[in-house]
């Protein structure tokens, strides 16, 4: 293989091919032939992509030889979301209190005798 060939580009090409194959998947041995690589480079390439979580593969037997069928892995949208709701604390004065981290038993701000907390409790039990 020509030195200096862009691996990233090759990976992209491989991914494209596998992606196009859809649910059927592509045999690993077919993939490296399509890309013009030898089997050693081909399997290394695939392994890299599997490690990156872009491909999945299952072992299959073709003509008595072990090879892999490759599948494109849909990129899972793992983008984090706001899922924790503040609904239960929204009305509690502590939630927005600037002193919540210094408020402690025996301190200047004391949860035992905080007038705001007291007023909230009173409003809740009425």
């Amino acid at each position: 293989m020509a030195p200096g060939r862009n691996i990233g580009e090759l990976e992209n090409k491989a991914l494209e091919i596998v992606k196009k194959s859809g649910k059927k998947g592509v045999l690993q041995s077919e993939l490296w032939k399509m890309l013009g690589l030898d089997s050693r480079e081909g399997s290394r390439l695939v392994l890299r992509l599997v490690k990156k979580g872009l491909l999945s593969r299952t072992q299959v037997m073709v003509n008595g030889r072990k090879t892999y069928r490759l599948f494109y892995r849909e990129k899972k949208e793992v983008a984090p979301k706001v899922v924790i709701s503040a609904k239960s604390i929204i009305d509690i004065p502590c939630a927005s209190c600037p002193y919540i981290d210094v408020c402690e038993v025996g301190g200047f701000y004391d949860p035992r005798q905080c007038p705001l907390l007291e007023a909230w409790i009173d409003s809740q039990i009425k």
Partner: protein, 196 residues
């Protein structure tokens, strides 16, 4: 502005988060509108390199010092983080800010845990003390305080009567139970799916 920050997020959770931020801003003498505007801008910013206070000023038209006040608070609350970078033209140091929704989750989750602690402390106190109340103005005193005042309200001079705090205790116990359940549920949401 609404669309981009809300897609994919639990809209109820998001709504309450903004409400909470508003309250936080008010308690800290910040402009709640600036607080919300800056937060929403940072949340909808898809560029992972973040926005500097200068960028934010350009986008929102809010003065930089106002923006910085808000950013400092968001940082203090561990909602926003910054990275140090260089100004593309002048080369001077700039701070580029980002908000990760996960940090918001952790923020609310840890806030609940803190509040749970306060409620537990309060319950302990209510359980260990006898209280007196002024029937006229409703001020509560602990037994010791009432004793010092000879059981006479220092404000209006009426006789203090014993205060039955069983409702308070009952309420606190219930709240604590609810919070413990909810925090467990949140932990499942936050850490459950990951095999840590």
């Amino acid at each position: 502005m609404k669309g981009s920050s809300e897609d994919g997020n639990n809209s109820e959770a998001l709504e309450y988060f903004f409400k909470l931020l508003e309250k936080i801003a008010v308690r800290r003498n910040l402009d709640p509108n600036v607080m919300l505007e800056v937060t929403k801008r940072l949340m909808s910013n898809s560029d992972s390199r973040g926005l500097s206070d200068e960028n934010l000023e350009e986008i929102t038209g809010i003065r930089q010092n106002e923006i910085r006040k808000v950013l400092r608070t968001l940082y203090e609350l561990k909602i926003a983080t910054y990275r140090r970078g260089r100004h593309p033209e002048t080369g001077s140091t700039r701070y580029y800010w980002t908000i990760d929704p996960n940090m918001i989750n952790i923020f609310i989750y840890s806030l609940k845990k803190k509040i749970l602690e306060k409620l537990k402390k309060k319950l302990e106190f209510e359980e260990s003390m006898t209280f007196y109340i002024c029937p006229v103005d409703g001020t509560k005193y602990t037994f010791e305080e009432a004793f010092d005042y000879n059981f006479i309200c220092p404000k209006c001079g009426s006789m203090l009567v014993e205060y039955d705090n069983s409702k308070v205790k009952e309420f606190l116990r219930k709240k604590i139970r609810e919070f413990e359940e909810e925090i467990k549920e949140d932990e499942r949401k936050l850490f459950g799916s990951r095999s840590v």
